[in-house]
Amino acid sequence: MKRLALFFALVSAAVAGCVGTTGGELTSFDAYAAGPADARPGEPYTFETSRGYTVVLSRATLHVGAVYLNRSRPSSVSADTSCQLAGIYVAEVTSGLDVDVLSPALQPFPEPGFATTEHARTAEVWLFGNGDINEVNDDTAILDIAGTATKDGQTIPFEGRVTISDNRVVPPPSPAAPGAHPICKQRIVTPIPVDLDVEAGKDLILRVDPRGFFRNVDFGALAQIADDPPLYRFEDDSSDQPSTTLYSGLRASVGTYTLTWEATQ
């Protein structure tokens, strides 16, 4: 009976080989995250902001919950209350990673990703603690930063810890639209425009540019929390300009996150 089964399998394989394919391919891939390519391993990252501050970033850790690629480009994101984009997702990395944003080295996500070999036009970075993205309360530190900002001879040491929890809930615009601002929309950076051909044998690289976090931050408006030594802190809410701007930079779909599909081996 085994020989009979083998015979049929050979016939079937011969027929199958002659009759074509459905197109495309499934593939698994390794995924990596890293800081800017011009950063130096083990050293602070220095840059200038649009407000004239010279920032020396000594600590920047970003928690990435998941990364997705979608083959569609959404026409209107603001009106969409769904956590997920319409269209077909073509790649996903569903394991979380704490990324040292100051290191240019590729830091691997703990589990491989999974993809279909298609063209991707949109990327998403999900910033959550790997529980339920719709759960309002999540104390996971999404961004942990420390450094100094200097302008006009004045140096402002700062630190900050950003969470996306009940502190980020946006009130509904009206009683008739209680679900207009679901918490998941706060945690998903989208749509990040990409132009990628997902291919087997290559990997996904997410580069995070910390300059995007501080693009328009007025460090002079930070709240001082200590005198000796002096220390200023970004609030974990939207109570002041620096904290609000930092949070906006964290969730910016342009200028902070870039994704490439390339061979890493």
Partner: protein
């Protein structure tokens, strides 16, 4: 009894019957005389020649149940002939090996004896041997010769088989059978040498039973179950595998309808195949799970006599849903008497069955009931069901019959659904596990039908009416926690679960009828049939989503109240230009009407009313800016399509028949897709094929073999969407392929094998259509014989049967291929007198196989973040199941 003389004639009749059977492609074997009593010249009547023609009705055992006079030879001669013939015994008429009640014509010729010889010896009957030891009528002594008496025993003529109408669909047209009364080996006009006068001209009395429609070519499969009924099958739907190209899977549990793949079509649960049982439609229009949904579980497998599977839309009788083809179940009970059967097996499976069929009635008169329960294999697969079927066939005069059919069915079952292959690989789920224990369903079906067929001169008329009530509830969850999207008007929520709770209740009522006119042109028999089909459906369907945490519905997806109509008419001609050239075909037109009330037409609104916020309500009563509107929307529309179909049959030439067929079929859209003021759209199918069939009887061995090339084009196909988890309207597709099939049916064995190779591709890209198998192989076989030893003077009987399926790797999206499927089912029985004991095993080698595989996105919270990329999901096939069966039959044929 004139054994030598009548034995010769009986043998001649048998040869004629066999010859006619072979000429008619082995369909009908007429009764043969076993024993007979010579009619006596009536007393007190002046001896004379007389001809009496009798109509003799036989039951399925060949016993005479009624004798009547067709042509009188005088009252006394009529009585004498009837008295004798009532004592005759016959072998039963056989249709494809199955006995059936028949009516035959028996001419009796009385011959006035010549005057006694002057020496006083007993005169021999005309034609009889001169030896007194071989005198006529061995069961009766010759009458004493008295002075002046001239009468002697009449010289009966062996019964002449009535002209049989072809009662099964052969691979090639039935050849002309010799006119009744023409002895075998003789041409019309010649007379039997034994009779002093030629027998009277035959009166065309048809055998009981209905003439099936003429074959449409090589893809018209009339599958007589016969000994292949010994092959273990779980339900009547599995019998479809006796026809080539058919692959069945079932994602939804024991009570859920099978998903059918045929010739490269994913017909889902019936959307592309027209199913009928005894002519009563099974496809459900207006079923929200899919228009054309067909659940065959109400059919008791032991009550299936045969199947007619037409693969392709080539017959004008085929109606809506006959895109890939059609399948009709002919019901009947060949094993007469009372049968009780009990089965117990793996997974705590119990089945009790009772069947009855009076021996004196047609095989189409029967009753049956079954009860079944099982825990099922793996998680969440238990089921309970009950079914009952009853039919009575009666005679209307000499040439008519009527049938009354009633069926009832109810089931309740659990379902395991699909598993993500990644979760299996990661060890998070077992092969037979489930994600959602809330899956399952129930179904019911109740129907009554009545039909009449009668021959009026050269015209046969048929009329059927039917009423069907069905109910279905189905809970299934393929996507887990993916589809519950947040809308602005809703309270904030996460993914509450994708368990769909679908319920459908529908009533179908309708009628069909046709008139077939037969005549002769060019010295060939010609037929013209015109017919109609009328069907109305009233269906109420609702689908809601059920919360995983609460098991309460949180959203109504859809709610439809539909009134649907289908009125069709057709004309079909069966033209024969020569004995070897036939053209069959015609045209059918169907008008489909839709009156659909969407009772949940508004599910979201932008700029809702702030004073009357909709909240989480499903069926809204406002539109933009909060303006009031009713939550429902009615849509009415119609569609009309004409479908030409035809076949050319060449042959048979020494058993070989060639055929070419072409036809158009349509599939009506789901009611939810119709649009007001837009003509209802159909998916249109153009099909064509060419085939060759060979049929021959090698003595007791009947051999049939076919080779068919086919092609089909669909302009708007329904393709399974990996993102939506259901079929959606796609683009045009083309399917081409080849079928090879052979069946050998002998005295003690029956085997049938078929292989189908198919390529299904999209017209625009040339890429393969996913999910449909491109290699389907099925091999069934059965042995049945007496065992070579005796018990108390009787030999037990034994049977062995097997069924083998091989399905090649199916194309899946993204260039993937599924696993192969290889299963082997087998069973043996031993029977003695009225009892049979059997054991059967399905999937004997306990193969862990995936009966269906798909690629779509599903989220079962097996990982931190949701899995949104389409991935492999599968339904596990059943592991090995062993069943023990004890059955008893009383009142049937002697064992």
């Amino acid at each position: 009894m004139q054994k030598p003389r009548f034995a010769a004639l009986a043998l001649s009749c048998a040869l004629a019957a066999t010859s006619a059977s072979a000429s008619a492609q082995g369909t009908v074997v007429m009764p043969r005389v076993v024993t007979q009593v010579t009619p006596k010249q009536p007393r007190h009547v002046t001896p004379r020649d007389a001809d009496v023609v009798l109509a003799v009705a036989l039951d399925v055992t060949g016993a005479v149940i009624e004798v009547s006079v067709i042509q009188s030879g005088g009252a006394d001669f009529d009585v004498a002939a009837m008295d004798a013939v009532r004592q005759w015994t016959f072998t039963p008429a056989l249709r494809d090996g199955q006995p059936f009640a028949a009516k035959i014509r028996v001419p009796v010729h009385f011959v006035a004896a010549p005057p006694p010889p002057p020496d006083g010896s007993v005169p021999s009957p005309p034609g009889a041997p001169a030896s007194p030891s071989a005198s006529a009528a061995p069961t009766t002594a010759p009458p004493p010769v008295t002075p002046g008496a001239q009468g002697v025993a009449a010289a009966p003529v062996a019964p002449t088989p009535a002209v049989p109408r072809p009662s099964a669909t052969p691979a090639a047209p039935a050849l002309d059978t010799p006119p009744a009364g023409t002895p075998p080996g003789k041409s019309p006009g010649e007379t039997p040498a034994a009779a002093a006068k030629p027998p009277p001209a035959p009166i065309d009395v048809s055998a009981a039973g209905r003439r099936p429609p003429p074959t449409r070519g090589a893809s018209d499969f009339h599958v007589d179950i016969g000994a292949l009924g010994l092959v273990p099958v779980q339900n009547a739907a599995k019998m479809l595998q006796l026809a080539p190209s058919i692959f069945l899977s079932n994602d939804g549990g024991e009570g859920h309808a099978e998903r059918v793949y045929l010739r490269g079509f994913d017909a889902r649960e019936g959307q592309d195949i027209e199913f009928t049982v005894g002519g009563v439609p099974v496809n459900e229009s207006g079923n929200l799970h899919g228009a054309g949904f067909a659940n065959l579980h109400f059919v008791i497998p032991e009550l299936v006599l045969s199947l007619r599977v037409v693969e392709g839309p080539f017959d004008p009788r085929q109606g809506n849903y006959a895109v890939a083809g059609s399948a009709d179940y002919e019901l009947g009970l060949a094993k007469r008497g009372v049968t009780l059967k009990y089965t117990y097996g793996t997974f705590n499976t119990h089945r009790a069955l009772a069947l009855w069929g009076p021996a004196s009635e047609s095989v189409h008169t029967f009753g049956g009931a079954q009860l079944q329960t099982s825990d099922g294999y793996g998680q969440n697969r238990g089921s309970k069901s009950g079914a009952a079927m009853g039919q009575y066939e009666g005679r209307l005069g000499e040439t008519g019959s009527y049938r009354l059919l009633a069926t009832a069915f109810a089931s309740d079952y659990k379902s395991a659904g699909l598993l993500r292959a990644a979760d299996l690989a990661a060890g998070q789920k077992g092969f037979y596990d489930t994600y959602d224990f809330g899956q399952g369903g129930s179904s019911s079906r109740f129907s009554v039908a009545a039909d009449i067929e009668s021959r009026l001169g050269d015209t046969t008329v048929y009329q059927q009416v039917f009423v069907v009530q069905t109910g279905m509830r189905l809970r299934e969850n393929f996507t887990g926690f993916l589809l519950d999207t947040q809308t602005a008007i809703q309270e904030p929520h996460g993914q509450r679960g994708d368990l769909l709770d679908l319920s459908v209740n529908s009533t179908t009522f309708g009628a069909r009828g046709h008139a077939t006119l037969r005549g002769e042109i060019l010295e060939q028999k010609q037929e013209l049939e015109v017919g109609y089909y009328a069907r109305g459906d009233r269906a109420f369907a609702e689908r809601s989503r059920v919360g995983a945490a609460t098991d309460a519905p949180y959203k109504t997806d859809a709610r439809y109240d539909s009134t649907l109509g289908d009125i069709g008419l057709y004309a079909d001609a069966n033209l024969r230009f020569t004995r070897w050239l036939s053209v069959r075909g015609g045209v059918r037109a169907d008008l489909l009407t839709y009156d659909v009330l969407d009772q949940c037409a508004v599910q979201d609104v932008s700029r809702p009313s702030e004073s009357h916020p909709p909240g989480d309500a499903s069926c809204l009563d406002q539109q933009r800016f909060g303006v009031h509107r009713e939550p429902y929307q009615r849509t009415t529309t119609t569609g009309l399509r004409a479908m030409p179909r035809g076949s050319i049959i060449l042959g048979p030439f020494r058993g070989v028949t060639f055929s070419l067929s072409a036809g158009t079929g349509v599939r009506s859209v789901d009611p939810k897709f119709v649009t007001q003021d837009a003509s209802a759209q159909f998916a249109s199918v153009d099909a064509y094929e060419g085939g060759v069939a060979f049929t021959h009887d090698f003595g007791p061995l009947k051999l049939v073999a076919r080779s068919i090339l086919f092609g089909t084009h669909v302009d708007r196909d329904l393709i399974f969407s990996e993102t939506e988890g259901r079929n959606v309207i796609g683009g045009g597709t083309t399917r081409v392929g080849w079928i090879g099939q052979a069946r050998a049916d002998g005295e003690f064995f029956d085997t049938n094998a078929a292989i189908t190779l198919t390529r299904s591709a999209y017209d625009d890209t040339g890429l393969l259509v996913p999910y449909v198998p491109d290699v389907v192989l099925r091999w069934d076989g059965a042995l049945h014989h007496e065992l070579p030893f005796e018990l108390a003077g009787r030999k037990p009987r034994g049977t062995a049967a097997f069924g083998l399926s091989y399905i090649g790797k199916r194309a899946l999206p993204y260039g993937q291929r599924s696993d192969t499927i290889f299963t082997f089912d087998a069973g043996v029985t031993v029977g003695y007198r009225n009892f049979d004991l059997g054991v059967s095993a399905s999937n004997l080698f306990d193969t862990a196989y995936r009966q269906s595989e798909y690629n779509f996105a599903s989220v079962w919270k097996s990982q931190g973040a949701p899995t949104l990329v389409p991935a492999r999901n599968f339904a596990a096939g059943a592991p090995r199941e062993v069943m023990f069966t004890l059955s008893a039959n009383f009142g049937g044929e002697p064992q």
